[in-house]
Amino acid sequence: MKRLFIIGLILCLVWFTAGCESMKEDGRPKVMVILKTLSSQYWKFVEAGAKEAAKKLNVDVTIVGPSSEAKIDEQISLLEDAITQEPDALVVSPSQPVTVIPAFEMAKKKKIPVLLVDTDADWDDKVTFLGTDNYTAGKKGGEQLASMLKPGDKVAIIAGALGNTAMDHRVKGAKEVLQAKGIKVVAEQPADSDKEKALSVMENILQKNPDIKGVFSANDDMAIGALRALEARKLKIPVIGTDGTIEALESIQAGNLSGTIAQNPYQMGYKGVETALKAIRKEKVSKRIDTGVDVITRKNAQKKMNFLKGLLD
């Protein structure tokens, strides 16, 4: 009997959770947003943007994501189960682009338009890809760093993991601008988007090039790691990161990090839903939508921080 009792309890729990997020079928266009996860800050910003668009544009938006970015096949199950619900459009940010292609083919069979945000996938039938133009982000980072240096200065670049194309584009953009301004890039090393790794990579670079005058990092975490290596050597030189994390903004306000090129996850969410609505209405949509970047320095860090913190509440 106990077993039956417990089964009853479980069913009650399912009823209860279902009740919490009851289904709405009210004729509004239905858009399902599947992100890499919902349990980190960056994705909360995307979520906030999508929710705002849902409210403003009167769209029925459901946002889901696995418990962590590493749960790749959980994301695929979510995607399959979203397709089962036959929404009018899907907005997807794939944790690993190749893994979602079979599910996208399923969506295509059911004639559900698919939009990609933040991370692109090599799939011809997508409506569009909305995300940061990483090459431009890198160029702006390079410009920012160059503005704080003079021609002939030596700089180092901290890159992402080998094969991380988004980061490769950032590095390429930064490098081109720096070299065009007569600044020498004497070291370029990957630190796999990892703070600790960036710390040791920066230490090694400093061993070989103690006269470095500036650092560009392909993301903020690595910039902060590199900063620690510089602090340990009591070196005060400009470091520019990319992404615009809250930790980076705090560091900028404290006068440590010189600046960051902030992505716009909020815009990705908002424009993702907005563009999905256009696709549903069969309006013409550009194949690539740039969600823009902001150059953040000590001048505007507080403003950006207020905006982001407001999204998390």
Binding site: T17, E21, V64
Partner: protein, 326 residues
Amino acid sequence: MLDVAGKVSAEKKIAKGFLDKFGALIGLILLSVTLTLLTDKFLTLDNLMNIFRQSSVNCLLAIGMLLTILTAGIDLSVGSILAISTMLMGIVVVKWGMNPILGMAVCLGVGAFFGWLNGILLTKLRLPHPFISTLGTMNIARGLALIVTAAAPIAGFPYMIQFVGREFIGPVPISFLLVIIVYVGFHLFLTRTATGRYIYAIGGNKEAARLSGINVNRVLVIVYTMSGLMAALAGLVMVGRVNSAFPLAGLSYELDAIAAVIIGGASFFGGVGTVWGTMIGALIIAVLRNGLNLLNVSADFQMAVIGFVIITAVFIDVLRQRASKM
């Protein structure tokens, strides 16, 4: 008076036996009925086939796990073995361009090897409990999976390898047909062969099994090798499903497999459990996840619900043990 009391307790016993035997199945049915009432998308052919597909990796891991749990052991390394065997298959097939059939053999061979290693560590090195030996191989295999490509995923497997995890016969996913075949095979193995019966005997009482002339160590090595082999087979299905091999594949899947076995009525203390119970356990987890997805319940909440189900299932097991000892 005595007669009546005897009759009542006999009826109770039958009812209890029925619940023990079919409790998980009743749970699955009730859960499915509930979900059918809650959303009209649940009971559709497409969705049922989705559930079968989504459960097949866990079904394969769980059958290996069942064997180890039947011997009162455990295999924590299945998720990591899944990763290393598929990563090495990726290297052989994608990076070196070798024959896909050879690649599949490598995949299964690597899985069986790590399983065999678990068995040897347990029986020859006499590590005190399989929790320890398989915890060790879990970390070794995961580490190697990350090392071989410096943590990068491998994509671009030939169609032949992706076939099992991706294709359908009519509406039925091939991966689930594979699961059925494997389960029938293990059902026959456990109920019709001497080695199969020995597995139950060892779980019931290891010492008694040894004294009655069973080569306990040999059986244990077979059990862990099979568990490794099943993990590699699950990996093969996974590669087709996610279109790639990646080093963090199967992370913490051992927990889902253990949950399936326990929810399916097997005893953590060994000697009790069936193949079909395990399948129902795996399906309960898959149906729960799928249903909660269809209801758009957040991933965090889902974790909590699944955790609740695991605890209650083990709690039932504890109650049953206590009852049978009284």
